[in-house]
Symmetry: C3
Subunit: 203 residues, 3 copies
Amino acid sequence: MFSEIIFFTGILGCAVFAISGALAAAEKQQDIMSFILLGVVTGIGGGTIRDLILNKPQVFWLAEPIYLYVCVIASALTYFIAHYIASKHRALVWMDAAGMALFSVMATHTSLAWNDSWLVAIAMAMITASFGGVIRDVMLDQMPVILEPEIYVSASVTGSLVFLIANHLQLDSSLSICLGFIGAFSLRGAAIIWDLRLPKYQD
Amino acid sequence: MFSEIIFFTGILGCAVFAISGALAAAEKQQDIMSFILLGVVTGIGGGTIRDLILNKPQVFWLAEPIYLYVCVIASALTYFIAHYIASKHRALVWMDAAGMALFSVMATHTSLAWNDSWLVAIAMAMITASFGGVIRDVMLDQMPVILEPEIYVSASVTGSLVFLIANHLQLDSSLSICLGFIGAFSLRGAAIIWDLRLPKYQD
Amino acid sequence: MFSEIIFFTGILGCAVFAISGALAAAEKQQDIMSFILLGVVTGIGGGTIRDLILNKPQVFWLAEPIYLYVCVIASALTYFIAHYIASKHRALVWMDAAGMALFSVMATHTSLAWNDSWLVAIAMAMITASFGGVIRDVMLDQMPVILEPEIYVSASVTGSLVFLIANHLQLDSSLSICLGFIGAFSLRGAAIIWDLRLPKYQD
C-alpha cells in the first residue's frame, strides 16, 4: 500500500514536470520532438542526478522504464492539447510547483533510506526538485525558474522539513508524505498568487 | 574485428564532436585552451553521461585515455587549420551531424548490452548523441543546436531505431551499425541541405 | 598530518567557491535562499562531478556532510557581509581564483589515487576546478568565467602539472600541494592583475 503511494507520487511528479517541459517548448514554438525531449529531460532530470549522487545500483527509469513512457506520453499529449490552455506560462508555473512539491517529499524519503543526515536529505530534496527545471530552463537559454523572485527554494526546503519532522514523530508514512507535499505546494502556491518574496539583497 | 569497428566508431565520434566544439570556440574568438576545453567537453560529454547513467564500473575515457588524447589533438589541430575553412558554422553543423549519427548507433549498441528495453536504448542514444553538444552550446551561452528548427532529435531516434530493427532481424552487427549510421546521418544531412522541419507548435 | 592538510584544503576550496557563488547572487540582487543555493552548487558542484566520474562509492559531501555545512554557512554569511565589500565582482574573481587553485591540486591528488594517467589527472583537475563555476555562471545565464579572455584553464593545468612533477620527484606531499597551489594561483592572479591573455583565434 505504502510503496504504491510512493510509486504513484513518483509517476505523478514525472508527469507534471514533463508537462512543464513541454509547455516551455510550446512557449518557444518548438516541434513535437523538442516537446518530447524537453519533457523527458525535465521529468527525469532531477531524479537522475539524485540517483547518481546516491550511487544507486540503477537509475530509477532504467529499473522501471514506465517513468520514461509516462514522460513521453505526457509531453506528446501536451503538444496536442496546449491550444486549449489559455495561459501556457501560468500552467507551466503551476505544473512546476506541483512537481517541485512531489519531488521534494519523494527525495527526502529516498535520501533517508541511504543516509540519515537531515541536511543531506534537504540538499537532495532541493537538487531533485529543482534540477529538472534548471536543465529545462538552461537548455532554453533562459533564467532558471528557481532564481525567479517568488519563493521557490524555501518552499522545497519547507516540504522537506515538514516530512522530516512528521517522520521523526513517527506519524504514518503516507500521512507524512501528504503533509510534506501540502507544506511545499501551499507555500509555493501562496507565493505565486500573492507574489510573496524574501527580501532581496540590495547594496 | 567487430570490437575494432565499435572502437573506431567511438574514436571517430569523439574526434568529430571535439572538432565541432573547437569550431564553436573559433566562432567566439577564443584562445587555444578554450578550444581544447570545449573540444574535450563536447567530445566526451555525452558518452560520460551515458556511462554514469548505465552505472558502468569505469567511464570510457578513464578505462581508455586514448579518447582524451584524440579530443585534445583534434581540438588543438582545429585551432591551427580553422583559417582554411571557409564557412566555420557550416563545418560545425556537419561535424556535429556526423558525431550525432555515430554516437546514436554506438549508444544504442552499448545500452542493449545493459538493458533490453528499446525505449531505454533510444533514450540513451538521444542523451549520448545530444548532450555533448548541449554542454558546448550552454557553455557558450547560446541555444542548443538540438532545439534548432531543422530535424535533429528525430534523426538520432531514426538511427537508433534502424539499428534496433536490423539487430532484431539478426543482421550482421557491423552491417547494423552501418545502416543505423546511414539512417541518422542521411536524415540529418537532408534536413540541413533542404531545411526540412517538423511542423512547429503554433497557437 | 598530511590527511589533515588534504581535508582543510578541501574545506577551504568549498568555502571560497561557495562565497564566489554567493557573490554572483549578490550581483544579480537575489534573496538569501538563492545565495545559499548558488553557494552550495558552486562549492560542491565540481567535486561532485569528479567523484561521479571516478565512480567513488560515495560522493564526498555524503561521506562527510561538513562540506555541505561549510557551504551553507559561508554563503549565508556572505549575504550579511557583502555590503562591506567595495567591489563584489573583484572579490568574486579572486575567490574563484583561490578555489580553482585549491581544487586543481586536490583533484590531481585524488585522481592519481584512482588512475595513474597524467592526462586523466589533468582532465580531472580541469573539470573539478572549473565545473562548479560553470554551473554557477550557466544558472545565472551568463558566459562562464573560464571562457573569459584572461588565462584560466592554463592556470589550472599549470597547478596540476606542478603537482604531478613534484610528486614524481618524490617531494614531500604537503610541499607538492603547496607548490601546485602557488603555481595555479600565481598564474591566475598575474593574469587578473596584468590582464594576461593567450592569443585569441582570429580569422
